[in-house]
Structure formats: C-alpha cells, structure tokens
C-alpha cells in the first residue's frame, strides 16, 4: 500500500516535470521563430538606410549650359544641365566610346542632372569652375557596393556590365564612392527608380488614414459601447446586436474593402486612392474592436461605484459620465490603440479602394492620393529590381517600429491610469 502511494507520488512529480518541459519548449519555439523573422528582416533591411554616392567632378561650363554672363536666378533655374551632366560622367573615362559613355551615364541615378542643378542653385558662383559633386549611384551599383549583388554571374545575366564594374572599382579604389545615411528614404515619395524610392508618401498616407479612422471609429464605438452597456435594456434585440458586433469583428478585412469600393467610391463618389476613403473603410473594421474593448472595460468598473453614485442621487447619465466612463477610459483607449494598430497593418481593403496606385507625390491632406505602409511593402515586393528587396525589409522595419510604439503607448496608458480597486 505504502509503495503504491510512493509510485503515485513519483508519477505526479514526473508528470509535472514533463509538463514544464513542454511549456518551456513551446516558448522556446515561439521565441526562435520571432528571432529568425526579426533577424531576416534586419539583415536584409538595414542596408536600405545607407545610400551610395559617386563623387564626380563636374565642370559648370557656362557655354554648355547656355548661360549668358551674370545670369539671374531664373536663368540658372532654366539652364540646360543635360550636356554638362553627360560630360562629367563621360569624363570618368577619357577613352570611352559612345556605347561606353552611355553605360557611364547609367552608373548614376536617372535624375543626376537635377542633383547637379541643385548644386549650382545653392552656389551660383560655381559657374566656370569644377567641383566634386555627390551623385546618387544607380540602384544596381548601390547593391554592388553593399555586397548584395552577385558579381560572379555571367555578364549577359547581369544588369551591370563588366565595363561599369571596372570603372566603379576604380572609383572605389580612388575613394570616390561614399556611403551615407539615406535621408531620401524618409523624405522621398515612391519612385520607379529603387535608389530614389522613399516612404514619405506611404508614411503620410498611413498617418492620415489612421487619423480619419480614429476620428470616425472612436466616437461612434464609444457611444455605442456606453449605450449598450449602461442604458440599453437587456433583451433579445440587444443580444442580437451583441452577437453581430462580435461577428463583425471576425469579418475578413477584404470584405470591408469591397464595401468601401462599392459604397464609398461607387455611390458616394469619394476621391479614389485617398486616405479619406481608406480611413473610413478601416474605421468600419476597427469599430467592433473598439466597441468590444470599451464594453469590457465598462463591465470591469465595479457595480459598487455605480450604486454609490446612484444612491447619492446621481442620475443614470451622471453616474455614467462622472464615474463609469472616466474609470473605463484607460481600457477603452488601449483597446482603441490596439484596434488602430491592426488597421495600420491592413493591406487588402486598401488595395481594393485603390490605395495601391503608384503615388510619387507626398499627400498634404487626406483628400490627396496616397499609398500606405503595408501597401508600399506589397508594391515594392512585387518589383523586379534588386534595389527594392532591401527597401521592402526597411519598410517593414518602419511599420513594425510604428506598431511597437503604438502598443507600448497602449501598455503605458493601461498601467499608468488604470485604477486599482481596493
């Protein structure tokens, strides 16, 4: 009998040990996946925050620029930079033939002419002089310099020719290639040229969408939650509403996109591809999330507080507004932020309402066409150029940073302002 009990005891200990082991390995697995995921994104994406510049001597030849003596600002603005731009690239190899000159030109970004022009606009005294100008390297050379480009491929399978590589290597050897922090990634809108593409448009698009979403979803959801929780009679009809709010939270986001397309764009004729439409669509999605969070935090306010207020002769409305709602606000707000974070990562509904369009301007209001961060990731991930690979990861990093900040904020609100009940 005693032995039997001992066996049982051992069995119990072993069972608990096994269970702990399973739990620990589950957590280990989850952490492992997360680490791999983050490592992959960071290792691919960190290089996008650096940009490669070629330092090229440019001679600001007044004659080639068709500039008169003592040109005014407008003259400099309107001058022809194409020839001096071409010439400064061609001069990198004095023995180059016409084909090679063409290749030399393609070593820098498509808009190198503009960069030369800006240099002169900043300092008009450069006319007639030679200055070493920083020109954005083409996305392929950018990738070569970052070591992301397979140089050992046969030449006909590469977008960078042997000749370009030879000149580039000479420039590197002479210290004429430099890597700097990529400001334009944050200040430029999208571009077909990977080296110029930035997230400014999609970032602003996301912010505007989220603001529109917040301004619509928050008041509607909070009012709905307060009414349902504090005022509505509990009957079959309100049960039915409750079930359907939960259903709404489970509707796939693309369905909301279709709704936005069919109602907002087709019937109300709102402007396509704008954060306004995107925000309204996202607010439909966020609505149930906020309602559920707000109701949960209203429910969490102890009934004794309501009774205390009512017994003091506060009306139902006063009880709700003076006590219940303020006490439930931390929970409601953190639920709202989590709902918005969800909306921020939403792609499918935005694609349907046209926020997937190529937008190379930075939106100034919710009525201007814009992309959004997740859609930008989608657009770039579809592009063929090697330069976009790192941009995709970099954009994911920005989006994740945004999300983590929001969730952190939600946590802070919850911990700092939530009342502890005695």
């Amino acid at each position: 009998m005693n032995k039997n009990k001992e066996q049982l005891l051992n069995k119990r200990y072993k069972a608990e040990q096994r269970f702990r082991l399973y739990g620990q390995s589950a957590i280990f697995m989850a952490l492992l996946f997360l680490t791999i995921f983050i490592f992959k994104i960071f290792s691919t994406g960190y290089s996008a925050f650096q940009k490669t510049w070629l330092i090229v001597p440019v001679t600001f030849d007044a004659e080639l620029m068709m500039l008169e003596q003592n040109p005014s600002k407008e003259d400099i603005q309107d001058a022809d930079y194409y020839d001096i731009a071409l010439k400064s690239m061609a001069d990198l190899d004095l023995n180059a033939n016409e084909d090679q000159e063409n290749e030399l030109k393609r070593m820098v970004s498509y808009f190198f002419e503009k960069e030369i022009k800006n240099e002169l606009l900043n300092d008009p005294s450069l006319i007639g002089k030679t200055k070493e100008v920083y020109l954005t390297a083409s996305d392929d050379l950018d990738q070569v310099f970052k070591g992301n480009y397979p140089r050992d491929l046969p030449e006909d399978q590469r977008r960078v020719s042997d000749y370009q590589l030879k000149i580039f290597d000479q420039l590197v050897a002479n210290g004429k290639v430099e890597s700097k922090f990529n400001i334009s990634f944050f200040t430029n809108a999208d571009s077909r040229e990977a080296e110029l593409a930035g997230i400014a448009s999609s970032f602003m698009g996301s912010i505007f969408s989220i603001l529109v979403c917040l301004m619509i979803a928050f008041p509607v959801a909070v009012l709905a939650a307060i009414y349902l929780e504090e005022f509505a009679p509990k009957n079959r009809f309100t049960d039915f509403i409750e079930v359907n709010i939960n259903n709404l939270a489970a509707v796939p986001s693309i369905v909301f996109g279709l709704l936005g397309l069919g109602v907002l764009l087709a019937i109300f004729q709102l402007p396509r591809s704008t954060p306004l439409v995107g925000g309204i669509t996202l607010s439909l999605m966020t609505l149930p999330t906020i309602i559920i969070a707000a109701r949960a935090s209203l429910k969490a306010v102890p009934p004794s507080i309501r009774e205390a207020a009512l017994a003091m002769g506060a009306s139902r409305m006063q009880t709700t507004m003076h006590h219940t709602v303020p006490l439930s606000m931390p929970g409601t707000l953190s639920g709202t932020i989590i709902g918005l974070a969800q909306a921020l990562g939403e792609t499918a509904p935005l694609i349907l309402i046209g926020m997937v369009a190529f937008v190379n301007t930075i939106p100034g209001s919710p009525m201007d066409p814009a992309a959004s961060l997740p859609v930008q990731i989608y657009i770039w991930a579809e592009s063929a150029e090697r330069g976009f690979v790192e941009k995709v990861s970099a954009c994911i990093m920005v989006l994740l940073g945004f999300l983590i900040t929001m969730n952190l904020f939600a946590q802070i609100i919850r911990h700092k302002f939530e009342k502890k009940w005695s």
Binding site: A311, G313, A314
Partner: protein
C-alpha cells in the same frame, strides 16, 4: 422621537411585495419607521431585509428583473408612484453599503460630489464648509483634514466606511439606510461607527440592516425581524430582545437558528 407622547412616523410601508423575475422575495411587508430613531432589520441571510432596505430608496430599480408592488409612504408621499423622481428621492434618502465604496477620487471630491450634483453650494467656500461639517459629523475630520486631496481609496477600511457616511450625510438626507455597514470592519472600527450612528439619529432617521444581534441591541430603538421574505415581528428593540411574541424570533435571537 415622540411629540407630545405621539410617535412620529417617517416611513410607512404598506403591503410591499418584491419579485425577482417570478420568484417572490418579500411577502406583504407592512412596517412603520419612527422618525429620528434607529430601526434595525435583523434576520438570517437571504431573508429579504436588504431587499426591503433597497426598496426605500428604490435602488432595486437598477436590477432589471426586480419589481416592487405595494405602497411605501415617506412623509405621506408614495415613492412607488410614477410621479416620484428617484433622483430627488435619493437626495433625501442616503445609503451606506456593506462594503466601503468610496469613489476612486480624492476625499474632498468624494464628499463634495453629492452637494455638487444637487447644486447645494453657491461658492467654493460654502462647499468647503459642507465638506468639513460632513466629515466632522462622520468623526473623520481630525484624521483626514490634512490630506483632503489624497485618494479616498487610500484610507483604512473603517475610515473608508466613515468617508462613505460623510458622503451620504453631505446632502443632509432625512433618512440614512445602512446595509450591514460594519460587516467588513474590525471591532474597533465597528465601535466607532456604532457611536456615530447614535450621534446621527439626532438629525436623521436611520435604518440599519445587521447580522449582529448584539449590534442591533446596542444601536437600535426599534427592531424588525425578517424570515423567508416575511416580517415576522417588529417593535421596540427592548421588547423584541427580551420578550418576543413569536417563537421564531425567540429562536433566532437566542441563536437556535440563522
């Protein structure tokens, strides 16, 4: 209180029935409550004494499935009448609950809440006075006068309950309902509250629900004994405790059941 030897009746309950859904919780309760006296309601758990107490300021309205029938006259006005406004009613009838439930706000805000919503103070000064007198009457002033702007939830249990009493009397109610106000407190805090009750009855009519027979005997002048939703017996506390008419009352107060 007796005027010229006549009992002044503050509250008159006539044939009160209370239902929770289909279940009847109170049967035909008729009870007169004397003005400026302490009336204790005693009885075993679930006998309906708290339910009856909550009828007096219509707190049962909060419970959807609860319905109250019968007449409850306060100053000869039927509070179950449709024309009765519960906000006005509860201004006149304060309540102190079983568990101390101060608002998670400062002490000052706790006491000033009632006067604020009922517009009883014209100025900050007047409000300060109300807060001070209420806290003094609740025998809490000396302990908290230096920390009026600290949260009320930071007080001890007994202090919290006295804060709740201060909150209740801040609107100068005619009647104070107390639902087992000492059940969550230690003996010292209980003694303080009991002393306070004795003091408060000079200005207010008090109805107290209690589980403690000793407490009922100590603080009350009248006692009502409830059992299974019925008012078995009521009368002066002396009589109920020394010479009850009903054997059930006798059994309960001598501790044979309950």
């Amino acid at each position: 209180m007796r005027k010229n030897g006549v009992k002044m009746i503050k509250i008159k309950a006539k044939d009160v029935d209370v239902f929770y859904g289909k279940k009847q919780a109170l049967f035909n309760i008729s009870l007169d409550i004397e003005e400026n006296q302490v009336t204790a309601l005693i009885g075993p758990s679930g006998c309906g004494k708290s339910t009856f107490l909550r009828c007096l300021n219509r707190m049962n309205d909060v419970i959807d499935i609860c319905s109250v029938k019968g007449e409850i006259l306060i100053n000869d006005f039927n509070i179950n009448d449709k024309s009765c406004d519960v906000v006005r009613l509860r201004e006149k009838i304060g309540m102190v609950f079983q568990k101390p439930n101060p608002f998670p706000k400062t002490l000052y805000e706790n006491v000033s809440y009632g006067p604020t919503i009922h517009g009883m103070a014209q100025s900050k000064q007047e409000m300060d006075e109300i807060v001070e007198t209420s806290l003094k009457k609740a025998a809490l002033w000396e302990e908290v006068k230096d920390r009026l702007h600290e949260p009320g939830t930071g007080l001890s249990g007994g202090q919290q309950q006295r804060l709740c009493i201060a909150r209740a009397i801040s609107v100068r109610p005619e009647v104070i309902l107390m639902d087992e106000p000492c059940s969550a407190l230690d003996p010292i805090a209980t003694a303080q509250i009991e002393e306070l009750i004795d003091e408060l009855k000079k200005e207010h009519t008090i109805i107290i629900v209690t589980h403690s027979m000793a407490q009922a005997a100590r603080v009350s002048q009248n006692t009502g004994f409830f059992h299974l939703g019925q008012l078995i017996e009521h009368g002066s506390t002396d009589k109920i405790f020394k010479n009850p008419d009903n054997t059930k009352t006798q059994d309960y107060i001598t501790g044979r059941f309950g």
